[in-house]
């Protein structure tokens, strides 16, 4: 569903901020599947014709399917959408998922980092 410049998928709200940062707010689920990951990334193509710095608010995610992690780490779709990705993990479980994703799934196509707050993440996303 698209309202103005905000898209709602089965797992997240996606929008483009005024400072040209793409935001994935994963607020509709605690579990990310491959299907929902693809649906969300592909839905966001309409928000920009060029890749943008991307902020991912992990909220209360408790599980990300292995296939979904591999998709985020290696699929060229992610490069079409994002120039760099900041993961914001505010809970022990999301920090574990984020660290695991960076350490074992090793996203290769887009620089990706893990942060504890939105502010820290945005500073990095805006840095040259």
């Amino acid at each position: 569903m698209r309202t103005g410049d905000r898209i709602t998928t089965s797992i997240a709200d996606v929008w483009r901020r005024d400072d040209d940062v793409l935001v994935y707010d994963v607020c509709h689920t605690t579990e990310v599947t491959l299907h929902s990951a693809q649906e969300t990334v592909q839905a966001s193509f309409v928000l920009s014709e060029v890749p943008l710095p991307t902020l991912v608010l992990m909220r209360r995610i408790r599980k990300v399917e292995r296939e979904a992690r591999i998709y985020f780490a290696r699929d060229p779709d992610t490069r079409r959408v994002s120039t760099r990705v900041a993961l914001v993990a505010g809970t022990p479980v999301t920090r574990m998922i984020g660290n695991f994703f960076l350490g074992l799934n090793k996203p290769k196509l887009t620089p990706t980092r893990l942060f504890g707050t939105d502010d820290e993440a945005l500073i990095w996303l805006h840095a040259d």
Partner: protein
């Protein structure tokens, strides 16, 4: 740490989830990787540990499945290799007596022609020459098959690159013919330092890839085989196809094991990986130039053979009149024995034994043999075992052994053949080579 911290720790230690975490860890340690735990809704350190262990088990399980699949594929390839070597051995034996008998018949027809030349005799000789060409093609294919099954240690020697290429192409002639034409551009190249079977295996892999890259039915499709010498004296072979080419995304991963761009079931993903490891063992280099839609060039550079020519059982073709000698042939295939008797009995007395013990029996009766032509693979006592027995009984007689082999050795026989300094003749043998090897031991005709 204050009291509160101690209490927190104590609470965590008594948390019933701890027991579940420990149980999950025990499962993972025991290799039960399909077990998962559902985290609670606390979203605390224990839940994070559970989520982390779940993901770890998931990754380990995926890796194990991948490894199992690769192991299965490797075992399958090893089995195919052993089968190929076995088939090669089974073909080489009958091929040996087919080729030998054809040559004997040709010689007898030549003698007849000298006394009564007729068109029928000429036709028969032509037919035999053509049959021998067919047999030679089978020999090359079998040699290629043996190369695919060859996994033993390297036997380095000087190898003719162009001959090795022709053997590789013989294996693939059907596949190439239906996809495009083959062009040979051979310039003079030095012999290379290589294990011949490994070199054939390498070239077969590359030519096979080239054939598969050609687009079926596309006019002008071709594979060009180029050999030349580099400025520093190394040998270069280029296999050039004008087929599909390799996509940019695949180029960096070409030499990775189990990586393939071919459709499922067509490629093992091991061809280029194995090829590069062979080239490295030979001290050479392999480069791939490719443009998607235009074709691919694989360039292999190999160092030239710099040592002396090894002792070869191949003598000058015409050995002239030879001193008559006594030859013992030991081969479990009676038709090989018969063919050898036929080929050698014009000049020598030939005794045929069908096993190691039968040979020892013959030797006990009369050990005056100039040459012992001995098969390697025989049931019961094999060639190397017979040789060992001879060494202990009569070392001088043991020195007169010449091994004949169709391949497919067991590990011990293979190791023996690799280190022996005795002559080894490969089946199917050339009749002139065989006669010359025998003549070298009986000597020229004393007038």
């Amino acid at each position: 740490m204050g009291l509160a911290g101690t209490r927190g720790l104590s609470n965590e230690m008594t948390d019933p989830r701890i027991q579940r975490v420990l149980s999950l860890l025990a499962d993972i340690a025991a290799g039960n990787l399909d077990v998962r735990l559902e985290p609670s809704h606390e979203d605390d350190a224990i839940d994070a540990t559970i989520v982390g262990l779940n993901m770890l088990a998931e990754e380990l399980e995926a890796s194990r499945k991948k490894l199992d699949a690769r192991l299965g594929k490797t075992e399958e390839l090893a089995t195919i290799g052993q089968l190929a070597a076995g088939v090669a051995h089974e073909i080489n034996n009958p091929l040996a007596y087919i080729v030998t008998n054809l040559e004997v018949v040709r010689e007898q027809l030549e003698v007849l022609r000298r006394t009564s030349a007729t068109a029928e005799i000429d036709d028969a000789i032509t037919a035999i020459v053509e049959a021998k060409q067919g047999a030679d093609r089978v020999r090359r294919i079998v040699r290629g098959l043996r190369a695919q099954g060859h996994s033993g240690d390297d036997r380095f020697g000087p190898v003719d690159l162009q001959s090795a290429l022709r053997v590789a192409v013989s294996m693939l002639s059907n596949e190439i013919r239906h996809r495009g034409r083959l062009v040979e551009q051979f310039s003079e190249t030095p012999k290379v330092r290589a294990d011949e079977l490994k070199l054939v295996q390498l070239l077969t892999n590359i030519v096979h890839n080239a054939a598969q890259a050609l687009v079926e039915g596309q006019p002008g499709s071709e594979i060009r085989l180029v050999t030349r010498m580099s400025d520093d004296g190394a040998a270069i072979v280029e296999i050039v196809d004008n087929g599909r080419g390799i996509p940019d995304s695949a180029r960096a991963r070409l030499f990775e094991p189990f990586y393939t761009t071919k459709p499922a079931g067509e490629g093992t993903g091991l061809g280029l990986f194995v090829s590069r490891s062979i080239v490295r063992r030979l001290g050479g280099t392999i480069d791939v130039d490719s443009r998607e839609g235009c074709g691919t060039t694989v360039r292999i550079t190999l160092p030239a053979w710099s040592g002396a020519e090894p002792k070869s059982p191949t003598p000058p073709p015409d050995v002239g009149k030879v001193e008559s000698g006594r030859v013992l042939v030991v081969d479990d295939d009676p038709l090989v024995g018969q063919a050898l008797r036929r080929a050698l009995s014009t000049d020598h007395e030939v005794v045929v034994a069908r096993s190691g013990p039968a040979a020892l029996e013959q030797i006990e009766q009369n050990d005056q043999f100039d040459v012992i032509l001995c098969d390697v693979m025989m049931p019961g006592m094999n060639g190397p075992e017979l040789f060992g027995e001879l060494e202990s009984r009569s070392p001088k007689l043991a020195e007169r052994v010449v091994f004949i082999t169709g391949g497919a050795f067991g590990p011990s026989a293979e190791a023996f053949i690799r280190r022996t300094e005795l002559d080894v003749i490969e089946k199917p043998f050339d009749i002139r080579t065989l006669r010359a090897v025998v003549a070298a031991r009986t000597g020229p005709k004393r007038e």
